[in-house]
Amino acid sequence: MENRINKAGDIMAIRALVITGFGINCEEEMAAAFRLAGAEAEITHINDIFSGSVNIHEFDIVSIPGGFSFGDDIASGKVLANKIRFKKLGSQGTLLDEIKAFIGNGNYIIGICNGFQVLTRLGLLPNIAGTCTQEASLIHNDSGRFIDDWTGVSVPVISSFFDGLHSFELPIRHGEGKLVFADETVRTKVKEFGLNFLTYTNNPNGSEMDCAGLTDVTGKVIGMMPHPEAFLTKYNHPAWNNAQPGSKNDEYGAGFYFFKHLVEQVKKQKG
């Protein structure tokens, strides 16, 4: 919180908020990812937002990391999504109202794993109707089991979400990662608008359309099941010791490039 004001008047400093609390548990690596990508990152308990001591509008990026918010009870991300949707802020609005305004102002919100589940249940992804009604869901993997593994993913050639990388591997760690769409309309629109920006090459959970990640039509609400923040260095990869190159010829892992690209986008936008 000490970093509220950009240091040395650096107007280019990009500020990322990393939400934690109630069982979210990937906040540290998420913050590390933003810092590595050149942004300032602040980890905050979600109750700091509800109490008004942290204002999301002072940030450029809001992120909801992975974990087990409320232990995945009822359904993964459900209780946290309910909190964001229903709990009254001091202003009598809800945090969802604030997030909508935040997005409306052209800012980014990202959700990884449990964060993706939250964004999906909030109707922020894929949000084709633009009304924040739920259009997709993430349910138990077809195997019925939690899975920690690495999986091949691909990013469409026209997309730059991973800074020019199009085929690589990312770690997955989830029990409820199977993406299902509400109906054919949603499915068609997701395809048509190219909202499934990240697909599995060897579908590990039964997701429709091999979908590993979604954006909304603006490309500024981004969610994915794989964990780019757990692949910041090439030494995270299971074959790093095999002289496997990182994704590029350096010590970074492919996950880093997601954050690098994101931060650069925001920088460009702030111009």
Partner: protein
Amino acid sequence: MKLPSYHTVQVFLKSGIKDSAGIHLREKIMKYLNIETGKIRTGKIYVIDYPLQDEELQRFANEGLSDVVVNEYSINAPLMQKGFDSYIIIAKLPGVTDDEGMSAQKTLIDMFSPETAPDVQKIFSQDFYLFENILADTELQVIADTFLANKLINHISTGRFEQQAPLYVPEVHLHIDNTVEAVPIDFEDEELLALSNSRLLALNLEEMRVIKSHYLSKKTASYRKAAGLPEHPTDCDLEIIAQTWSEHCKHKEFNAEIIYIEPETGRTLLIDSLFKAYIKNATQDVQETLEKAGLKWLVKVFSDNAGVVKINDEELFVWKVETHNSPSAMDPYGGAITGILGNNRDPLGTGIGGAKLLFNTNVLCFGPPSYSKSLLTGQLHPRRIFEGVRKGIEDGGNKSGIPTVNGSVIFDDRYSGKPLVYCGTGGIMPAKFNGRDSWVKEITPGSLIVSVGGRVGKDGIHGATFSSREIDEHSPQSAVQIGSPIVQKMAADFLEKAAHKGLIQCSTDCGAGGLSSAIGELATISDGAEVYLEKVKLKYSGLKPWEIFLSESQERMILAVLPEHLHELLALARHMESEYAVIGKFTGNGYLKVMYEGEPVSYLPLEFLHNGVPKKYLKAEWRPVAKSVATIPQGIDYTDMLLRLMGSDAVSSREYLIRQYDHEVKGKTIIKPLMGKHRSSPQDAAVVRTGFTSYEGIAVSNGIMPKYVEIDPYMSSAAAFDEAVRQIIAIGGKLPLYNTAKSLFWSVNDNFCVPDSVWHPENNPDGKRKLGQLVQMCEALYDMSTFYAIPMTSGKDSMKNDFKSDGIKISVPPTLLYSMAAKIEDVRKTVTAEFKTPGDIIYVIGRTHNEPGESEFFKLLGLKDTRIPMVRKEIAARTYRKMMHAHERGMIHSAHDISDGGMIVTLAECCFGNMLGAEIVLPVSRDTSAATLLFSESHSRFVVTVKPKHREKFEEYMGGKAHYLGVVTAEPEIIVTANEEKIINCKTEDVYTAWKTGLTRQVI
């Protein structure tokens, strides 16, 4: 019968959505019970004991509990569904942790912001299973018992839809009974013992006599009178003494005076405490050695919840391993999750407290999954224990956000009564919190006692001995506990923040013995404490004062807080939604005083409480077993033998477990359990980074070798120690004295799990021998630890691992686990096990001896041989020195330690990661046969590969320690030649399949 005041909401998947849980359950029921259930539909019932308007209820069900995309729901409707005939409903018994119900309640509060939020649980979650086919009640019961529920914690209803399923609500109904009883103690021996038995105090006659004379003394009478207490002990006094003097807390057997005799050799020892003589002394001697070498990383040993060593000037490493065996035998899921969460609280509650937990590790000992003996009363099948423990560790680790970075599983018939569940947790603590040394526990008299985390129920009170007669369906369940990772995670987040802000003096966890143990121990720091039990937050009313003090309800931490910090601390707890209660204060008067609503309940001098327990005197003896030598039959098909070994219980892949444990959360895991392009070569030590800004890290390994303990307990302990060391050497770790210019800590937890080792002519006729085994294991611990200058920093002993039922006793073998952690200077320089490149040269490092006893090879052949592998520590140390040297020069391209199954198993495992092959020629000699080279489990050896360009230099460095085997091949085949004959020739893929499916096909 439905009571009108409850609402029920049923939530299930829409018919178009695949019900994976149902499909898998159907398959399992068919596979293991041979019952065809037809389609299974799964879902949840929320029973709501909260006044809601119809419209609110509708909204709560629709938006709060159900997912619009995938769920359907019904409100206050019968469970009956078209196309399904039978049902099972699983509810939790009263007082059993129901996180899902609590989470639903939180959503309800978020949705409707009621003015007064319910203070206790008002929503209960239940699971239901609907079956298409007509199933008999006995079939439904067996399905529920085998896969879905445990009667110790669950209420099970089963039936057919001829009538509506009855509603069960797990509310606790208890008579309020606040009485404090004075217990007469002026008895003769027989009655004293009867008193101990009837109150389940587990105190022996000698101890009861000491208590009696304490209460009969004039001094006691006078201070008790002054404090307003009866002359004789209160129920609470007795319970506190019994808890404090329990084996679990005072380690009476490890502190006993032991006479050890070896009749054959005449060797006799008089040991005044195994702990002091071997464990503590080893660490003291190591500390001297380290200090002489200028190494000062050993910070705190044995005196706190976890051992503390220095990573660097800013950070400390906190490391604890414990077991949770008996609870895991009764309810494997609850036992394991409570075990892992309980063990997490040890590093959390070390020093000031608030360490950040970095990793978990687990070592599990089970009966074999194919166990076919008929089960004794209360005995669960090993497969069921396996699956329950697995799930407990999965939830305990994954939901806490702590990666389970490695572990080990051992199968042996002798663990089929009581499994061993070892849980380890390492954490990082800043060296200072707000200017104060973080590892120091300091308490000023006048500091307040604050309890944080879960609420208190009857959990764990005399758990194991609670008679089933006394339980009805509204008695709070007390024997088995279920941990709540979410409550603990929230408490841990809070504790970390509070520690950083300097708001706590110190903390400790509340585990076995509850407040009595936690406060009783902290009170020795300030020299006194005063507790007000009515302030303790309860799950339900009706507990007696002593029960509140002794309850082992989970997820609690006890903090010592200076009065000036209290306000800020409580505000932080409220903000982070961690429940708390200020329950007393520390004093300096030498007494533990317990009050309930203004009346004294217990008053005990700390000196008597902690130092009054009489010493135990035990006898130990060791006679060597008769030597036996077996010969290998002619005509063994070595390829077939390799495939069988790979699929055996001891060797086969643990991937089924590994993939369900999150081993990468926090993004710091560098060497994971399975590595390589195909993520399929098992590894030795795990390696984790400590942060994101440096490449410093920690290697973690486990050594456990109970298979040698009946033949040579000393070697069994030494072998386990060597195994843990060599795993760290394999990945490139450095021994403490290798380069003293670098301060690279080693920190070890020793964990003994032994059967009853107190001799008794009828009940335990071989008790002396068992204690003799323990003595020898301790001797090896001392020898190995001091030899390598690797210190024990913490540990635990669990003394009565016997399962008794139907007049039969199943005892575990004396089992010792060494869990080692060592600092790694640069994780980027570590080396993994899988072969990397075709053309690399393969060596076996270290000498292979003809030591087939207890080898997996001999087990498959059914051969008994007492020639077990010897630990030759001086030779091993020279090998390790050369390995460290070669690693330092970056010459080793892959390294894997040799253990169960021998060299060929290790080599095959190395092929899997990148699906390569190997072509080797065995250096057979007159002393060393092909079978020995392939399958001997001689210690202190590795399979390594070296790039061809390094070959010459490497061989020179290794000076006779490296024995050339052959080369890595691109062709994925394993080809072994001996005496110019191909004795193994198979595809890597086939070996891999045998290995991968060996265990999995028995448990899924």
